[in-house]
């Protein structure tokens, strides 16, 4: 915070009208807005959030309760834009509601990753020595398992369900996050502003949370944005394997999993949720790429 506070002070000195602040976040934001593809990604994300929030208003039908067996397997039409599934439910409505699951899983699993990763990473980087040794060996053990297999194992152990997915996908990512934070914390713990805080008598927790971590935010943001898209992919894969949210919950992965048996006769059952996944992952990747370009100091020209 020290750093940014200093900059805020300098910002106040300058006349407001110039509208050229030195706040690195604002600078980054401006640079981001100049990146057309990143903005495109951002639009996709905003669009998806809009859909997720307003799904009940946007959906022409209820995704679960509005079933009608006599209208099963209808191809796309004016009445059902994306067609209907095997029990006559509107696929459009189910895809719209599915965005809620996907985005929730993306965010919730990142929250799990962040909380475990930041805590352990900061402890390891700050205290070094034995703490570091133990935490980093744990992280290495985690890394020895292929992430997705580990998530499957967790899901099978706890039993399939939406909360299982949050936890399983969040848990498998912590080692990478911890390593990232550890590196950053090690970098800053010897820096002058931390020395200053320490000489003023600040406690360890204050130094970690108030001084060091705020300065590590850039890589965390990049990694989280990129992580959301892989979490969404992983959720779809888990649901595809029947380990995600259970029927009748509409999730893109389970819709595709189920639609697969009708792929020859009713391809729209698998195409539309598939496209939704593609669009979401594409949006987050574009935005994440853009963020990295502007936030990662190594990428600065």
């Amino acid at each position: 915070m020290e750093k940014t506070q200093l900059m805020n002070k300098s910002q106040k000195k300058e006349p407001e009208k110039k509208n050229k602040s030195n706040n690195p976040w604002i600078i980054a934001w401006r640079r981001l807005l100049r990146d057309k593809t990143a903005v495109f990604g951002l639009y996709i994300i905003i669009f998806l959030i809009f859909i997720a929030v307003f799904a009940p208003i946007l959906s022409p039908y209820h995704p679960i309760e509005d079933f009608n067996l006599s209208e099963a397997f209808q191809g796309p039409s004016m009445k059902h834009w994306f067609g209907t599934d095997w029990m006559g439910r509107d696929i459009l409505s189910r895809v719209l509601y599915g965005s809620r699951i996907s985005l929730t899983v993306g965010l919730a699993s990142r929250v799990v990753t962040l909380s475990i990763g930041i805590t352990l990473g900061a402890l390891a980087g700050y205290f070094r020595g034995k703490v570091d040794m133990v935490i980093m060996r744990l992280a290495e053990i985690m890394d020895a398992f292929p992430n997705f297999l580990f998530a499957i194992a967790i899901s099978v152990a706890i039993g399939p369900g939406l909360y299982t997915v949050f936890f399983a996908l969040g848990f498998v990512g912590w080692s990478g996050m911890a390593r990232l934070i550890r590196g950053q914390v090690m970098l800053y713990r010897e820096s002058e502003f931390v020395e200053a805080a320490r000489s003023l008598g600040a406690s360890n927790s204050r130094i970690i949370f108030k001084e060091i971590l705020p300065n590590c935010m850039a890589p965390v943001i990049i990694s989280t944005t990129m992580g959301i898209s892989s979490a969404i992919m992983a959720e779809a894969s888990l649901s595809f394997l029947g380990l995600g949210a259970q029927p009748p919950t509409p999730t893109w992965g389970s819709m595709m999993n189920f639609g697969r048996q009708y792929i020859w006769t009713a391809p729209y059952m698998i195409i539309f949720p598939g496209l939704a996944i593609v669009l979401t992952v594409y949006g987050f990747n574009l935005f994440g790429d853009g963020l990295r370009d502007v936030l990662d100091p190594r990428m600065k020209d």
Partner: protein, 559 residues
């Protein structure tokens, strides 16, 4: 800068792909609608249950490539209760009698039999049968195999097959060393005496549990469970190897007593995913395909496949069992509400189109005792709501329960609309998918509140759909997973078993059936229709009405 350009290109390519996909799906819709129109015509054409075998003399040789939809738990006749295990037992072992295509009892290891009175059967055995290890088959093996099923130390779930034999109860209780009613007259004659007349007994001898094992082989294994995958029988095929999730291989028994099978062996792969099986068949890697419901229309309308499709109604009766001693289904009002809440007509006619017909009671059409026009629980959502309200449930306090099923897409396709209908009526049903073997074990142990299963005829008699499923002594592994217990039912079915007058017996079956329907212990959903597809070079394949009747002796390969 280079990077930017790349991103724009990817965006463009993506748009192009989207455009292609969208235009593609618009077109592909039309033929599928066309297909829907013509489906009824070809359904009429495809009513055969035998592939043509007229083109030339049967040839010997060739490996038949098939698959199993799940792992096998055992190949020991004493424990084979699942359909696929029973089928495999029939290939490896023989019983005294077997069934023809229509379910009629025909000779097998017994070349003939006589019935001096209503409760005595004398079997004359073939004298040229040998076990796969070379040991000759004799009457002693029959006695050993049958007593083994009753032996409490073995713990077979099929003791009821032989319980009616004289002295069986004493043997099971340890009061005698052998079963009085199974007498070995000489090496090739067995006399079986029953406690009282019991007409279905002869056909029960075709069940997996009545297949003949070799004492020497069983006794090799201190723990009987170890015998499960070291089977040695007299059957037309010998065991080669089995590995879970991978394959099951058998080879022709050259010395089979009634002549070796045409094919040299069968390679069963274990393919759990139905779509994978379809893809494998279409790629030419399988000779046989049990067509999944989702693909029936498509395959039967494909001229390349249509001539090689066999179809037949089966005796498989699918139901949802409601566990009697578990909340919430210990209340008859809740069970009845459950039955009224489901529009079976609508579901079966859409989801199970081509693959099933609505079932209204345990006794299936094709067996004496079946009554047309029986429809005890027509769809009536208001009545369901009323009954639930009476039982003390309301919108704030819905009747919630878990409906367990073995994990497959076909099951989910059927159960999801059922779940939706239940929820409309004021239930709160949760579907729980489980792996088949653990599912079966949990259901048997009575852990499920409600479960989806089926029952197929072990022998063609209506009694087979009543006694094992509903008699209080059959709780658990016997067949009465719902823990149904009604003394009145027990009394009537026991009386029916004793009755030798045929018409009288059928009347008692129907009376017993009515009681089970009134108690709503199971909701009968549908009777399945089987669709099998073969490669053109497969000749002589048939659909047998009894599930374990096909010993693969007719099938031959023209390649």
């Amino acid at each position: 800068m280079v990077k930017r350009k790349n991103k724009i290109y990817t965006a463009l390519i993506l748009l192009l792909v989207l455009a292609l996909v969208f235009s593609g799906c618009g077109k592909s819709n039309e033929p599928s609608k066309e297909a829907g129109k013509t489906s009824t015509e070809s359904a009429e054409k495809a009513t055969t249950n035998e592939t043509e075998s007229s083109s030339g003399e049967p040839k010997y040789g060739g490996i038949f490539r098939s698959y199993l939809g799940n792992d096998l738990k055992t190949l020991d006749p004493a424990f084979a209760t699942a359909e696929r295990e029973g089928k495999m037992v029939s290939l490896l072992y023989d019983s005294l009698v077997k069934f023809d295509v229509n379910g009629k009892v025909i000779p097998s290891l017994a070349k003939s039999w006589e019935t001096p009175d209503d409760s005595t059967l004398i079997f004359h055995l073939v004298d040229n049968a040998k076990f796969h290890n070379g040991n000759p088959f004799t009457a002693q093996d029959v006695k050993y195999s049958f007593e083994r099923i009753l032996d409490p130390e073995v713990g077979s779930p099929r003791t009821w097959v032989f319980e009616k034999v004289k002295g069986a109860k004493d043997f099971m209780e340890g009061k005698s060393d052998s079963v009085e009613g199974i007498e070995v007259s000489d090496d090739y004659t067995v006399k079986i005496t029953l406690e009282q007349p019991f007409a279905p007994f002869l056909s029960m001898l075709g069940m997996p549990a009545a297949h003949i094992v070799d004492k020497n082989e069983i006794e090799k294994y201190p723990d009987q469970k170890d015998y499960a995958f070291n089977p040695v029988g007299t059957g037309p095929f010998k065991f080669v190897e089995y590995s879970n999730g991978d394959k099951f291989v058998i080879e022709a028994n050259e010395d089979y007593f009634s002549g070796r099978p045409y094919i040299d062996g069968v390679n069963y792969r274990i393919i759990q995913d139905e779509s994978t099986a379809v893809a494998e068949f279409e790629a030419g890697n399988l000779d046989e395909l049990d067509i999944p419901t989702a693909d029936i229309d498509r395959l039967k309308n494909n001229p390349a496949y249509a001539p090689y499709i066999l179809t037949s109604n089966t005796f498989w009766n699918f139901y949802i069992g409601l566990t009697f001693n578990k909340e919430p289904f210990n209340d008859i009002r809740v069970r009845k509400a459950f039955c009224y809440a489901i529009d079976r007509e609508a579901i079966i006619n859409t989801v199970k189109r081509n693959a099933g017909v609505v079932s209204n009671g345990p006794i299936p059409p094709g067996l004496d005792g079946y009554r047309e026009g029986l429809n005890p629980y027509p769809y009536n959502i208001d009545k369901a709501k009323e009954l639930l309200a009476e039982a003390g449930y309301s919108e704030e306090n819905p009747c919630s329960f878990e409906l367990w099923h073995s994990d497959s897409k076909t099951n989910v396709a059927l159960l999801e609309p059922i779940q939706a209908m239940l929820n409309q009526a004021g239930f709160k049903a949760k579907l729980v998918a489980m792996e088949w073997n653990s599912y079966k074990a949990a259901v048997r142990a009575g852990e499920a509140q409600a479960f989806y299963l089926s029952w197929g005829a072990d022998y063609p008699d209506a009694e087979n759909y009543l006694y094992p499923l509903f008699h209080s002594s059959m709780s658990g592994g016997g067949g009465n997973e719902t823990r149904y217990n009604n003394p009145e039912f027990d009394k009537i079915i026991e009386q029916a078993q004793r009755t030798s007058d045929y018409d009288e017996r059928i009347k008692l079956y129907q009376k017993a059936e009515d009681i089970t329907i009134e108690d709503a212990a199971r909701l009968w959903l549908y009777l399945s229709k089987e669709w099998l597809l073969y490669r053109p070079e497969v000749k002589g394949a048939k659909i047998y009405r009894i599930f374990n009747a096909d010993k693969l002796l007719d099938i031959w390969l023209d390649r």
